[in-house]
Amino acid sequence: MPARVATSAFDALRAASPEPHGDAALVQALRAIVGERWVKVRPSELTAYDSDALPGYRAQPSLVVLPGNRDQIVAVVRLLAERGLPFVPRGAGTGLSGGSLADDAVIIGLNRLTRIHAIDAGNGIAHVEPGVVNAVLQRAVAPFGLHYAPDPSSQSACTIGGNVAENAGGPHCLKYGVTLNHIVAVTVCLPNGELVQLGSPTSELDGYDLCGLFIGSEGCFGIATDVWVRLLPVAPSVRTLLADFPSLTDAARAVSAIIATGIVPAALEMMDRATIRAVEASIYAAGYPTDVDAVLLAEVDGLDAGLDTDAEVIAQCCRAHGARSVRIAREPADRARLWQGRKKAFGALGRIAPHLVVQDAVVPRTRLPDVLTTIQAIGARHDVAVCNVFHAGDGNLHPNISYDASDAEQSARVHAAMSEIMQACIDVGGTITGEHGVGLDKLGYMNALFDDASLAAMCAVREVFDPERRANPGKVVPVHSCREWSGRPSHAAAH
């Protein structure tokens, strides 16, 4: 477990008091809405909510309230609005940007809202509550021959509400798109407690695309109480290929060549030598060769006719760019084995050191070979071990660094390296996050990516939804881009 990092002077006070929150009336009022056991105030209970999956960042919420349905969400948000209190919506806490951290704000946990209200197979729409876990939804719709396309690596734990907040992606986004492309409507409890429906479950509207605007708003525009997701037919046939390359650069060039053929693979994932070795040394060993610089996992799906041709074209691209061997799997068990190492790569990397920082940046696809080389150089310069496991087809990099967050000097080197990596990605025309969100972690890079006018426009839009800036305060857009923030700034302490 990460070392406990004190983030506020109030920590000591909290620890000393069994019921630290001073506002007993607030706690009582919240308990009247959601029930006694669904308001958490004790330090031992709040600890579970003081971080997400991003190491090095901790913040203690003032309290945690866990509504059980839409009406309770509305009642809770209205109560907080009346009192002018900030709040942070939170799903499963699997986020990688510190987006669900609450520094002395109220966390509204949505994990109890796990109902799948309806699956309309004919129209390919499911109506779900925000706390439904991504993988649970996948299992529920599978008997209809359908699937929900976004498949983040954390899908066994992350929730649809969290996916909406972050505009989550996943390996299969290359062909199928990100969360934005698969949500048709949301009901949102605005920060003032008003319920609005954005988008439509039954028809395409004209007017402003408020549903699209809401997706990826990281909890700053309100809380999604209902989500209507689009479901797609499961592809009738799938082929999975694994190619191994003596050179990472050659593997990156193979990616460009595959994309240029016009075939849109369902997924095109790459792992570098460090990742391969970590996977193969773990219980998730997938039989990847450990003496190569990169493996490329490619998947094509769709109609059976012509699929073998596509797979062979991809195999040829790999061989033409120096692949040592290419395996093609057709059967589900064989495919699952090839995927296992990729899906569990983060788990395997977690064994190497106490902490793993999973970064997220996107570069134009043609710049992948250069950027991968630059990242290795940055890692070497700061004496940190950067490994890469990423969505190569999208140019979506996940440079990861295993380290010990309790070692201040090591943490400082990790942060310096990450900053340089982000800047290198921006310099080639890329962006600072492709699917993890800005949250707290990327806040400092927003000024490098957007000018003041663009950030001010974002602030202006945020104020439409949340004029008092009480919903997930201090996230996404740097505070100085807006008018002066009235609350205590959220801050992160990395040690």
Binding site: G169, A305, G306, T366, L449
Partner: protein
């Protein structure tokens, strides 16, 4: 970035309009302005704001100034074996800026995505004259609030789009179009029932009515147009599968392009959207409504996967026409469906309810265009309400 000759000109012009509360109407190729939308204000000409800013074929993205025509984008990308898989209804002289501003799409949308799915980044001058950027040039991007989605389909009421980055696709190895006609006595449901079980993944699949088929030079009768793409094996297998639907004939490769281009600026056009399981009911309802209102030879097309029926009528001066526009606009769609009017005669717009009436939309408009200078009369207010303040 704005080129030197415009740097400062467009933003300054808008800032000045903001300061003096003078309405402006941005104009590209003018293909939808001529559709008699009731917009007040001085013309802000962005038609000379053209050209490709950046195109790296290997990235499968293109950045172009907003006044660049769809035709130019088509030609530039075709030279690299790529395309913008959008092909919206309308003429190819339309600009990419207007395409994004109006969220115009076409038969390819169910497979390749709508405009909202294909735009990666925008440069937009807000109603105060601020040059802002949203999104970027990469294919995945969640940095900051998604103002790209906000401007798509906003009809330039939240800002003037000056630059657009779009996602491209490599052109398929084989791209063939087929025309299928069934037994004219069968219901649509009976005719098209096998579609659900066929091994088909078409690039586009559009149902058109008899007048539309005739306009395109096809044999009379309700007709299914299918565009197949991919490698030769995949296209051949799907072509064979089509036999289950009736008589199949290979069509000229430009059939879908002609279908899209059949929407000219003077026509009347609307989209009626409902659940796809109600597609045929929507089709019949729209068809009946046109007959009841003496609409002359309505051209109907439907995107089956999307539950979308599109109807076009010839311009009022070209044919006998609907007399009661109020009743027609109210009853064209079946209950529960949504009608989006694309083009109407000038005096008919007052019957169309505003698309921007909810609190959030109204406040967003006020946030990005506080003096309400951009495209006054579009989306937010009926024509009659804006004449006094123009």
């Amino acid at each position: 970035m704005l080129p030197a000759y415009l740097c400062g000109v467009l933003p300054a012009r808008i800032a000045s309009a903001h300061a003096t509360r003078t309405p402006l109407r941005p104009r590209g190729a003018g293909t939808w302005l001529t559709a008699q939308r009731p917009i007040s204000g001085d013309v802000l000409d962005v038609s000379t704001h053209t050209g490709i800013v950046e195109y790296v074929p290997g990235d499968l993205t293109i950045t172009a100034r907003a006044g660049t025509s769809l035709r130019e984008l088509r030609d530039v990308t075709a030279a690299e074996g790529q395309w913008l898989a959008l092909e919206p209804f309308g003429e190819p002289i339309g600009t990419i800026g207007a395409t994004v501003a109006t969220a115009s799409d076409g038969p390819l949308a169910p497979t390749f995505g709508r405009v909202r799915d294909l735009v990666l980044g925008l440069e937009v001058i807000t109603g105060t004259g601020e040059v802002t950027r949203a999104g970027g040039r990469v294919v995945k991007n969640v940095a900051g609030f998604d103002l790209v989605r906000l401007h798509v389909g906003a009809w330039g009421t939240l800002g003037v789009i000056t630059e657009v980055t779009m996602r491209l696709r490599a052109r398929p190895e084989v791209d063939e179009t087929y025309v299928v006609t069934g037994d004219p006595r069968a219901t649509l449901e009976a005719w098209l029932a096998p579609l659900a079980s066929l091994s088909l993944a078409p690039m586009a699949l559009e149902l058109i009515n008899a007048p539309f088929a005739q306009l395109l030079g096809l044999s009379a009768g309700t007709t299914l147009l299918i565009r197949l793409g991919g490698n030769a094996d995949r296209v051949a297998a799907q072509r064979r599968a089509l036999d289950a639907l009736g008589d199949v004939v290979r069509a000229p490769d430009d059939l879908f392009a002609r279908l899209a281009a059949s929407t000219t600026p003077s026509m009347i056009a609307a989209r009626v959207s409902h659940e796809r399981t109600r597609m045929f009911d929507t089709w019949r309802h729209v068809s009946t409504a046109c007959t009841r209102h003496q609409a002359w030879r309505p051209l109907l097309s439907a995107s089956l996967a999307r539950g979308l029926v599109r109807v076009m009528l010839p311009p009022p001066d070209a044919a006998p026409q609907v007399t009661d526009w109020g009743e027609f606009t109210r009853t064209l769609a079946p209950p529960g469906a949504h009608t989006a009017w694309e083009q109407l005669p000038a005096d008919a717009w007052r019957h169309v309810p505003s698309a921007v009436v909810d609190t959030l939309s109204t406040r967003l408009r006020a946030a990005l265009d506080p003096a309400h200078v951009l495209n006054r009369g579009l989306l937010g207010e009926p024509f009659s309400a804006r004449t006094g303040d123009a």
